[in-house]
Every structure is written in C-alpha cells, then in structure tokens.
Amino acid sequence: MVTNWIGLGAGLIASISALFWRRAESKRLAAIKTPTKKQARPKKMATALIILGIWVFLSEGISLIFGASDKGEFTVELFAPRVSLFGLSISSTVLVTWIAMLALLIVALILRLTVIPHLRDIPSGAQNVLEIMVGGISDYTEATSGGGLGDNLNAYFFSVAALMIASAMVELFGVRAPTADITMTFSLALITFVLINYYGIRRKGLKGRIKSLAEPTPVVFPMRIVSDVAVPVSLACRLFGNMLGGMIVMDLLYSSLGNFGIAIPSVAGLYFNVFHPLIQVFIFITLSLTFIREAAELTEE
C-alpha cells in the first residue's frame, strides 16, 4: 500500500520534471541549426522519462484503485468454452463467428448503399480503397491459380480473407479468436478440399481425376491419396497452431504483467494479433490456389 503511494508520487514528479526538462532542451536545440545526434540525445532522454513516469503513475494508480492482481494458476483451454443458447449448447467460437459475420454484413451494407450508387470513372476515397482490395485479390487469384477458372473463385477467397481478418480483429477485444479453434479451421480447409476436387473433376472428368492420381506410375497411387488427404489437415493445423500460439503468448504476457500491463502488451499485440493473422491469411489463400491449380491443370495440351 505504502509502496504504491510512493510509486505514484515518484512517477508524477518524474514526468512533470521531465516535461520542464524537455521544454528547456527544445528551446536550446532550436537555437542550433542542424543538431548532431549527441546534441539531440538529452531531448530523447527527457521524452523517455516522461513516458516512463506516466506509465509508473498509471500502473500504481490501477493497483491502488483495484487492489493487487492475484497471480493464480495460468490455464489455457484447448477447446473453446460452451455457452447455452435457447436450450442448445453451442461453442463460443460459433457465437463469436456470428458476431464477426454480422459486423462484416453491416459494413458491406453500408458500402453498398453509400459507395456503389456513386461510382465514378476516376476513383477517389472509399471507391479507391475498394478497387485496390478487390483488384489486388482478383489479380493474385488469377495469377496463382493459372486463370480460366471463373470469377467466383476470386469472390470466395475475398470472403474467406475478410472472415479470417475479422476473426483476428476480435482478439483485440480480449475474446478468444474463432480461428483458434480447430473445428473452424478444419471447416475452412474442408471447403478448400471440396474446391480442389470440384475443379479437378470439372476440368478432367471423374475418370481423368482418378487417373491423374496415378500420374508417373500406378505404384504411387496410395501415396498420392494419402498426400491428398494430408492437404486439408495441414492447412487446418497450420492456421490453428499459429492462432493458438499467438493467443497463449498474449495471455502469458497479460497474466505475468498483472497491473503493470498498460503499454507493453499492445506493442506485442501488434505483432501477434495483427501481423501474424495477415501472413496466415496470405499463406492459406496461396496454398489453396496452388493446390487448385495443380488439380485443374491439363498437362497434355
């Protein structure tokens, strides 16, 4: 209790005095034309001391208001907790996915009603952003999947990317991300598996697809079947493992910092909750398109 008040006072004094110091340093630096790095160093130290003082002040303030954090046991669940909705027991993953889908639908409705009726030849603003997103994914899908497979593939992969990014954004609010559940990632990988076989059968016919599995020699037929089954399993496990690993690291960071977790977890969260999901979405789409291209490719013409 006493140490909290001492820390509060120390943080307050440090930040206020560093504010005056920084102001004096800025006035001194404005007199010099081009300051060298060594001359500009005191100002940076003053800025760092301000931030440190504010951090200590806020942390001790939280400890005083809410009491010390109890460092109990750190547990992590493999499967998401189940809630009961209208008498059915649903996993919380499904509920959060519905909320993410609702948010995406509302954004799409708003865009449809405000941007689409006023399309111009020279885009600007929201139309520019939309064109960059749709055009980017469309070109990438055409290039990676070899072209000629129709526009529905572009639309599907855009929706999948939007759903995965929305699921990752939910993690910023402290809720367990839906993609950190192996049932959801396995569903997405299963859709990819169905798409691979659909495009393969559409291009080559059913007999052609089975014959293409015996491509170099018929001896490799069982191994090709196993590797074809391993494709959706590997897609699902990769996405699940990455999301779950990020969630475990963020939970460890929050639970170990306790009341001092004010600015540090957000910097780490920028890597684990924003950059990692984007890379995983890119990898998922690239791998799905590569396998679809491999299945739908005609090798004799």
Partner: protein
C-alpha cells in the same frame, strides 16, 4: 496414464522446432544473399521467402499441436 510419460512424450514432440529453426535461418540467409546479388528483385524474393518460411514453420506447428493435444487429453 502417468503424467511423467505424457510430459516426456510432449517434450520429445517439440524437438522438431530445432530442425525448423535451422532450416528457416538457412533460407533467410540465402534470400539475403540473393537480394544482395540483385536488389531489383527484392519484392519477388521477399514474397517467395515468406511463403517458404510459413510452409517450413508448419512442421514446428505440427509438433506444437501434437504436444498440446497430448497434454490436454491424456492426463
């Protein structure tokens, strides 16, 4: 089932991270050499590198997921 056996099994699962880390370091080294040789192709090299890194990391992820499943469902 004894929790000691489960713990040893889960720890042995995670040995695949050694090979994965070594492979990813070697790949990044070769990519840096390629960019140093031809800096104009840096965008293409970066995207190929990221694809290769994510695929190689998946073997480490398999070990991690297997260890997790072992720890949570066998004891």
């Amino acid at each position: 089932m004894n929790i000691g056996y489960v713990a040893i099994g889960a720890a042995m699962c995670l040995l695949s991270c050694v090979a994965s880390g070594l492979a990813m370091g070697l790949a990044t080294g070769k990519a840096v050499e390629a960019v140093a040789r031809q800096p104009e192709a840096s965008g293409k090299i970066t995207s190929i590198l990221l694809l290769g890194l994510a695929l190689t990391e998946s073997t480490a992820i398999y070990g991690f997921v297997s260890a997790l499943i072992m720890m949570f469902t066998l004891s």
